[in-house]
Every structure is written in structure tokens, then in C-alpha cells.
């Protein structure tokens, strides 16, 4: 359990994190920050990957409690639609307002669904989440006079702090907003894992019964993590919606949820950094692979998922951690078997 709290993204006071890892994280963030200047062609791609990464982080949070959700695209979609409705109702609404509307929508949906699903674990937890996302998907498809049906609705470019920006400037704002949100929320999630509630939350995976012996309600603890995961997905959904300028029922489709679970496992089940590293790698590969493997993309994902689960359960971060441990043998005492953060 202690292994979870030994590092944070930056060497915060009192943290015993691997310096190498913090250095790599800082370098990674720096590399992302210069992309609009150095490689403008990648800007949109990275922006989408970061939005997706935030949603993946939501799934990752639940993996820490040993639960998997096959329906977290629900909150991704709820938030994006909330933002779109917000802009439709108040033309020229501010970016902050759209984001807040999305997060509130995702949090409300998370509370509603969460109150129900925290009664379950394992199979039921995963499948009930899937069922809720399918429900929302059919609502979006059927009530087309409100939701625009399969074509979705436009999410017009919002103003930024009262200013009307051109396309290029707006995309730049979104890009750096995405980086800021990733850093802020990633840091928050790491602190949350280390906080008392976060520690209790992870106990659901290791030994839920002991939690009850302590006089605590596992449902309430799980609900707090569920809300966090819903909000993270919501932020990702809002960013995605604003970046693409249109929201469609595809945001909620089970394939999207599956993709999130896939990236979370690819990055390293339970790893905060892994969520973003996984999302970036995934998007890069997808863009270049879809040209010649578009028809079998899902098949490749499935096969790769099997390979990771059976042969590299720590995911990318697990492999990186292994490499780092080999590089700095003196500094790395026996860490937990858990994948690194």
C-alpha cells in the first residue's frame, strides 16, 4: 500500500519519488508544450490524445479499486452534450462556462449512476456501467429532435474570457488548457490516491471487509472515487467536444468505453502517468495505422489487450519502471508489485 504514495509528478516536499521519473515527467511535459511551435501538425492530435487521456485517467482511478467500467464513455458524452447544449442556449458562452457545465453534468450523472452501481463489484459493476451507457446512447439516437440523433449537434466555438478568438488562436488556447488540466488533475489524482479517502478507496481492491471492520461504508468510499472518475471523464469529454466542434452519440458508444479501458490497461493498470503516456501512444499509432489497418483496428486492439493482460500485466509503465529500476539499482528498493504511478 505504501508503494502507492511514494511519488508525485513533481518532487513535492516530503516525497521520496524516483528523481529519474520526475525528470522524465518534466521532460515529457516540456516536449508537449513546445509542440505547437516545433511540430504544429501534431497539435490537434496531441490535443485529442490529452482529452482522451483525462477520460482514461477516470477509468484508471476505478482500476485502483479493482473495478473496471465498460461504460465510462457515458460521462464523456454527458459532459460534451452538456457543453453543446450550453453553447446552443447561450450563444457566445464562455469556454469556462462550457467546461463548468460539462463537469456539472458529468458529476450529476456520476452521482446518479454511482449511487446505483457502487452496490456492486466485479462483473456487475462493469456490465451495469455498460448498460447505463447503452441507455444514454439510445436516448441520444431516439430523441433526435432534441439531440440531433446520429448526426449529433454542433458545439460552436465559445468565447475565451469574453474574447472572440479566431480558429488558430482558439486551438492554441485549448491545447495549453489541455496541458494545464492534465497537469493539475493528474497531480490532484495522485494526491487523492495518497489522501486518507484515496487510501481507503484502494482498500476496496485489497480487502473490502477490513474497511467495514473499521466502521466505514465501502459504498460511500467507492462513490467518492466514482465521482472523481466521472468528473475526469467529463473534463476529457468537454475538451474533446470543443476541439472537434461537434458532439455525436459516438461519444457514448461502447467502442469508446472499450478504448478507454484498453488505454488504461496499456498504460499500466492503475498508473496516472500511464493514462496519458498510453493515450498519446495510442493516438499516434491509431492515426498512422488506420490508413492500412482501419478494418481490423478493433481486432488489433483486442489481440494486443490479450497480450498485455497475459504477458505484461504492468503495461507500459510497468515495463518503464522495470527499465528504470535496472538503470538505478541503488535507489530502488523492492517496490510493490503494483505498476508504478
Amino acid at each position: 500500500m505504501t508503494g502507492h504514495s511514494t511519488s508525485s509528478p513533481r518532487p513535492a516536499p516530503g516525497s521520496r519519488g524516483l528523481p529519474l521519473r520526475s525528470l522524465l515527467t518534466a521532460l515529457g511535459v516540456l516536449a508537449l508544450a513546445v509542440i505547437p511551435v516545433m511540430a504544429p501538425g501534431l497539435q490537434l492530435l496531441v490535443n485529442l490524445a490529452l482529452a482522451k487521456g483525462l477520460a482514461v485517467l477516470g477509468v484508471t482511478v476505478l482500476l485502483r479499486a479493482g473495478q473496471v467500467s465498460f461504460g465510462h464513455a457515458l460521462f464523456f458524452g454527458v459532459s460534451a452534450y452538456a457543453g453543446a447544449f450550453c453553447v446552443a442556449a447561450l450563444p457566445g458562452a464562455d469556454l469556462v462556462l462550457v467546461l463548468v457545465a460539462g463537469v456539472i453534468g458529468a458529476a450529476l450523472a456520476g452521482l446518479l449512476v454511482g449511487l446505483f452501481v457502487v452496490r456492486y463489484r466485479g462483473i456487475f459493476f462493469g456490465m451495469l456501467n455498460l448498460a447505463f451507457s447503452m441507455i444514454f446512447w439510445s436516448i441520444l439516437e431516439k430523441f433526435y429532435h432534441v439531440t440531433g440523433g446520429a448526426d449529433g449537434i454542433r458545439l460552436d466555438r465559445p468565447t475565451v474570457l469574453g474574447m472572440e478568438l479566431g480558429r488558430g488562436a482558439f486551438e492554441l488556447v485549448l491545447f495549453y488548457l489541455a496541458i494545464a488540466l492534465v497537469l493539475g488533475l493528474g497531480w490532484f489524482t495522485l494526491r487523492w490516491f495518497a489522501s486518507p479517502v484515496g487510501q481507503l478507496f484502494q482498500t476496496i481492491k485489497t480487502n473490502e471487509t477490513r474497511l467495514e471492520y473499521l466502521g466505514l461504508s465501502p459504498r460511500r468510499v467507492l462513490l467518492s472515487g466514482y465521482l472523481l472518475s466521472a468528473v475526469l471523464c467529463g473534463v476529457g469529454g468537454s475538451l474533446m467536444g470543443m476541439t472537434q466542434g461537434v458532439v455525436t452519440p459516438e461519444y457514448v458508444w461502447w467502442v469508446r468505453s472499450a478504448e478507454m479501458v484498453f488505454i488504461a490497461v496499456l498504460g499500466g493498470a492503475g498508473s496516472v502517468r500511464g493514462a496519458f503516456v498510453g493515450a498519446l501512444i495510442y493516438e499516434m499509432v491509431r492515426v498512422y495505422a488506420s490508413a492500412f489497418a482501419g478494418d481490423i483496428w478493433q481486432m488489433l486492439l483486442g489481440a494486443f489487450l490479450l497480450v498485455i493482460i497475459l504477458f505484461a500485466p504492468g503495461g507500459i509503465m510497468g515495463i518503464l519502471d522495470g527499465l528504470m529500476r535496472r538503470a538505478t539499482p541503488a535507489r530502488a528498493p523492492a517496490r510493490t508489485k503494483e505498476a508504478g504511478q
Binding site: 446505483f116 471487509t209 461502447w254 490497461v265 478494418d295 478493433q298
Partner: protein
């Protein structure tokens, strides 16, 4: 709502429930014995439907009688069970029986993703129609409502036969008793000489055949499209979750409840028809978290 519409909704509901039940039966049998929820079950259903449509079209094009469509359904179902179900259990699931539930779920989910693309590669994205079996049996008129014999009589009769057959098989045959013994306590069963691996393989293949059979039987009544597997896995999970996981008789009653609820909604408030099964599931689970017929499990500490 007059009598005609009432009867139409009733018949729709019954034939739909029969199909869903057959698929859910396979899912709940596998879960009951192996404690694994096979997410790829939906794909097996879809592949069963595709295989039947292709086989039937091919055989009928050779000039054989349309009645041959019925044995071909069985052939497709068995092919799906043996050629897909067998290797899935043998190559994959066997490695993960002692892994956490979440990993097992992820593995079957990965298989599901793979099989969804396999369907698209083999059969494309164009919808398939193959209704010879439906037409071969003709129509029947009940109280002035004309309905197909296939949906009103054949499907429900088959569903009930399968239910009773499986009950008899599990309780009164040697293999069935071996399965029940392994379900009850795998280690104890092995210690008295039961080959648990073979029991699991057999159960999984039977479950997969049921999924394929559900698809085969559904193929004449609907257009076969990509995505039907995803719908079916969620729906049949709703059925077995509402009934209580592993409850075979309960699944039959729940399938009927959900089928009727959905078909009446089609005539009363069509927009929400798709939602009705899930609303029923959520309502039931709110009151009874173990499902209608499930019993709370004693916790091991």
C-alpha cells in the same frame, strides 16, 4: 389498446423473449459453472446468425428445398460452438481461472472486440436477409391476428424444450451431474476423479452453441447487421442479472417479463421501447440486488 394490438404485442413479446432466453441460457450456464461472464457471447450470437444466413442462401441457391434451412441452423450453431467456443476456452480462459474477476472480464471483452472485426471482415457491413425458414412454415391466425408459425409456435416451443432439456440433462444424466459437482466444489470434484478441465470445456462449448443457436434462430426474423452482437450481450446480461446470475429457470421468466415489457412499449411509447429492458433491470436490482431469483451469497472472510 384494442384486442388486435394487444395480441400483436403479446405475440411479439413471446417470440422475442424466446430468442433472448436461448442466448441468455448459454450465458447463464457458462457463468453458473465457470464463474466467468463471457462478453464474447454476443459475438457468437451474431456469428451464428451470419453463418446461418450465408449457409442457407448457399444451399438454397443449389436448388434444395427451403425446409433444409432448419437443420442448417443447427449446423451453424454447432460450428460456432465447436470452432469458436472450443478454442476460446481451451486457449484463453483456461489460463485465467485463478486470476481476478476483472481480468477475466477484460479477456472475454478482448475476444469480443476481435470477433466484432472478424464479422465485419467476413460478412461486410451490408445487412443480410434470409427469411426462407420463416416463409417455409407459413402463417397462423389467432383471434383475427395473423402471425408467423415460426415466431409464434416454433420459437417458444424450442425455448421451453431447451429449458426442460437442460434441466433434465443437468439433474438426471451422468455428465450433467459431473457438471453440477464441479460447479459446487471444483477441488472436491477433482479429488474424486472428475476431469474439471474437460467439464469446463464441455460447458463452454454447450453455452457457445446456445449463443450460436440463438443467432441462427433470430436470422430469419431480422436483418443481420454489425453491432447486433453488442446489443445482444447487454440485453442478455440484463436478463440474467435481473434473474440472478446462474439461475436457469429464473432467466426464462425474466426473459418473458422483459420481452413483453419491450413489445408493449413498442405499441404504447415506441421511443422508450429499447430502454424498457434496462429500466426493468434497474428497478429489480434496486429492490433485490441479487436479482429476482438469486440468493445472497455468504461472504468468506
Amino acid at each position: 389498446m384494442n384486442l388486435t394490438i394487444f395480441l400483436l404485442a403479446l405475440f411479439d413479446g413471446i417470440s422475442y423473449a424466446a430468442l433472448v432466453f436461448i442466448v441468455a441460457l448459454g450465458l447463464t450456464l457458462i457463468f453458473g459453472v465457470m464463474r466467468i461472464l463471457n462478453v464474447a457471447h454476443g459475438s457468437l450470437y451474431a456469428i451464428g446468425a451470419y453463418a446461418t444466413a450465408s449457409l442457407t442462401s448457399y444451399v438454397l441457391a443449389l436448388g434444395f428445398a427451403p425446409v433444409l434451412a432448419f437443420p442448417l441452423m443447427l449446423v451453424s450453431a454447432v460450428l460456432v460452438g465447436v470452432l469458436l467456443g472450443g478454442p476460446i476456452e481451451w486457449l484463453l480462459l483456461r489460463r485465467i481461472y485463478n486470476k481476478p474477476e476483472v481480468l477475466q472480464l477484460l479477456v472475454t471483452f478482448a475476444v469480443f472486440m476481435i470477433l466484432e472485426d472478424v464479422q465485419r471482415l467476413v460478412w461486410g457491413t451490408q445487412p443480410y436477409f434470409q427469411a426462407s425458414a420463416l416463409q417455409a412454415l407459413g402463417n397462423v391466425t389467432v383471434f383475427g391476428v395473423t402471425y408467423t408459425v415460426y415466431q409464434l409456435i416454433l420459437l417458444p416451443v424450442l425455448a421451453v424444450t431447451l429449458l426442460l432439456g437442460l434441466r433434465f440433462f443437468l439433474r438426471h444424466t451422468v455428465i450433467g451431474k459431473l457438471i453440477l459437482a464441479t460447479t459446487e466444489d471444483r477441488e472436491a470434484a477433482q479429488s474424486i476423479g472428475i476431469d474439471a478441465d474437460r467439464v469446463f470445456l464441455f460447458t463452454f462449448v454447450v453455452g457457445a452453441v446456445l449463443a450460436g443457436l440463438g443467432g441462427a434462430l433470430a436470422s430469419p426474423t431480422t436483418s443481420i447487421l454489425p453491432g447486433m452482437g453488442a446489443d445482444m450481450i447487454v440485453l442478455s446480461f440484463a436478463v440474467i442479472a435481473t434473474a440472478g446470475l446462474g439461475q436457469i429457470e429464473g432467466a426464462a421468466i425474466t426473459a418473458l417479463l422483459i420481452g413483453l415489457g419491450r413489445s408493449f412499449a413498442v405499441y404504447v411509447w415506441p421511443e422508450v421501447a429499447v430502454l424498457v429492458p434496462y429500466l426493468i433491470m434497474v428497478l429489480v436490482l434496486l429492490v433485490r440486488p441479487e436479482g429476482l431469483f438469486g440468493s445472497p451469497v455468504a461472504r468468506k472472510i
